[in-house]
Amino acid sequence: MPHSTDYRLIAHSLVRAVILAGIAFYIVHLHNIGHLQLYIAPRMAIYTKLAAAGLYLIAASLFYQALREWNGQHAHECDEQCSHAPAGPWHRHLAVYSMFVIPLAVFFLSPDTTIGSAMASQKGINLNSASALKSKAGAADAPAVQNTVLAPTASPDASGKAAASEPNREIPGQNPASDNSAATADSATDSAKSAASSDSADSELDKLFPHDSLMEPYAKYAFKLYRQPVIEVKEKSYIETLTTLDFFLDRFIGRKISLSGFVYRDKTIGDGRFVLGRFAVQCCTADALPYGIIVEYVDEKLYKNDDWMTITGTLEKTVYAATGAEVMLLKADKSVKIKPAKDPYVYPDFDFGI
């Protein structure tokens, strides 16, 4: 069969090569400027990078094929069947290619940002990180359904009552009640320290943090946290620490906590309060879930949504009107405005409990 140069094939191969290389280059670009983690969790990033390598290879082969066609070297062993231009009218191909080119151009040209308080309010902030653990201890099917009648609009009443029923609405540091609780906490810390040094650490653990075998890693971690004078919620085990504090909340009431994150508010948490938290990402930012603690602070209005800060305060509990569940409340006595964390998201700690 006489062979003529197929210009449509060349054009298609080149356009495809450019698009595929463009996607691969975008991934490399994100990696180079350190922004890949804004989209993909570090443990999954390797797959995306491998995909970039694969796309480069395919793009290179397509380019090579275009060159061969240009030089009139056709694939010999499969003649007409192997490589020829995709069929169909040109406008459909244009539509398909622009479905890649336009988003890619937007990806490149628009700034990389993080999701913040606006997204937290869409996703609903997670104040009860231990709910998946607690549910075992009672809340079976039928009663749980009753709680689903969430009415964010009807809630300020209830949360207002809850807040009013708490005695200390003034500045926490000057409140005798909270001083007392801090003192008891200190003595508790001392006793915990001495307990740890003695042989009976295990029985102390069981007494302070009763648990079953499944909860053992959390109980041990709680015991570790319990011995710290100020419990710092660290980035590496952010979710695990919040879960532990929430699960053994009664044991940690009155203790000093230090927490960093972004500020978020909605109408369900009540006046004079905001939530300080972080987004936890499993695989990619699309599955991000906001975790946080309600903070009560005198100069609450000083801080805008999405401001980042470190807050140190005393742990209390309150009833979250939207779910009717008991949640943590941090009575702040010190706050520092900070720069947003370099990696805005936190990830599950896979070393936890090992």
């Binding site: 989209y39 290879l57 082969s61 499969c78 709910s131 699309a286």
Partner: protein, 356 residues
């Protein structure tokens, strides 16, 4: 040309109806559409962030699927495939479901592979059983679920069993009742005539044979592998792009709080969780943590419905399914899966409330 116009009017009418339905169910007026059209900066940023993250996350898995599909095309002949597949339909469905253990690919990678196998003559019910079961019945998903529900260790087991059961049930139902060939053969628009698959006229079975019996030209073969990859990539990729964009829009504009207000009763909570799973279109490895965040709000059965339904059918993969199957079949499949998940999750919820 007219059929192209027809298709797009049909699609946009469907989307319009869905938006209206959403407004009706959430009790909002048309006025709130104005709120939606006014998109502020943080929302644009959220859309971009989620769009890019879904695309980058799905990309490697889709590429893997495309690669496996191209390899299948080059090296597995029709005859070999028919030899390997069990004759007995029940056995075939069971095998397809168990294959998920060996090939843990999420649904983005699954569809190109299954499409290739279907074109090579694999029965539809086996292909569907594999698409439905594989994202759930695999060790990666099992351990992710286990990690998300640390103290409800039976959740992971229930999820695996239920995924298996639903896939088998749907597969067998399709075997019994699906007579017509549901595979999209010719692309709408001007017909290409001679060859049945309008998208890629060169991907016929005879072609596959030429390849697999050809021993010469290693570099040419690699080259044709790359060409096949590119063909499939662009065919599936456009659906991934569209799916990722629409999912990003949904995640940005539909709030969980508003969705939760819809629920009522046990059946309502099951349907709601399934609807939620459909809309957010997460991968089967990361959705367990999202499900865990609903514990206490919803009964176990509803969480299971979320965990099983999401990986089987969601917004993103409906678009990808539409690239392989006729739309009537996709609708039928969605209805079937919805019914089976609903029934099985209700039974599971009943069972766990008695024994759990």
């Amino acid at each position: 040309m007219s059929s192209l116009v027809y298709r797009w009017t049909l699609n946009s009418a469907t989307i319009g109806c869905l938006i209206l339905l959403y407004l009706i169910f959430t009790g909002q007026g048309i006025g709130s559409l104005a709120r939606i059209t006014h998109v502020d900066r943080s929302q644009w940023q959220a859309i971009k962030t989620i769009f890019v993250s879904i695309f980058l996350e799905a990309l490697p898995f889709m590429l893997l699927g495309v690669l496996v599909s191209a390899l299948l095309n080059l090296f597995v002949s029709e005859a070999a495939l028919t030899r390997w597949l069990p004759r007995n339909p029940v056995l075939g469905v069971l095998c397809a479901c168990l294959l998920g253990i060996l090939l843990p690919v999420c649904e983005c990678g699954m569809i190109p592979i299954v499409r290739r196998l279907l074109r090579k003559g694999m029965p539809v019910y086996i292909g569907i059983a594999y698409i439905l079961a594989a994202p759930i019945v695999n060790p990666v998903t099992y351990f992710a679920t286990y990690a998300a529900f640390r103290t409800m260790t039976d959740m992971a087991l229930y999820r695996t069993l239920m995924g298996f059961a639903v896939a088998v049930a749907v597969g067998i139902t399709l075997y019994l009742f699906q007579r017509a060939n549901p595979i999209r053969t010719s692309a709408p628009g001007p017909a290409t005539g001679v060859v049945p698959s309008g998208h890629q006229p060169h991907h016929t079975h005879t072609h596959a044979h030429t390849h697999s019996h050809d021993a010469s030209g290693g570099s040419s073969r690699l080259l044709s592998l790359a060409t096949h990859d590119a063909d499939e990539f662009f065919e599936m990729g456009k659906f991934l792009m569209l799916g990722a964009l629409l999912t990003a829009l949904i995640q940005t504009f539909v709030s969980r709080g508003e969705l939760l207000e819809l629920s009522g009763g046990v059946l309502g909570s099951h349907l709601l969780m399934m609807g939620f799973a459909y809309l957010i279109s997460l991968c089967s490895t990361s959705d367990a943590f999202v499900a865990a965040s609903f514990t206490g709000l919803f009964p176990k059965g509803a969480l299971l419905a979320f965990l099983v339904y999401g990986p089987m059918i969601d917004f993103k993969n409906t678009l990808m399914l539409l690239s392989v199957f006729k739309s009537r079949f996709v609708v039928r499949l969605i209805v079937l899966v919805t019914l089976f998940v609903l029934v099985f999750s209700w039974l599971a919820g009943y069972w766990t409330s008695r024994h759990g």
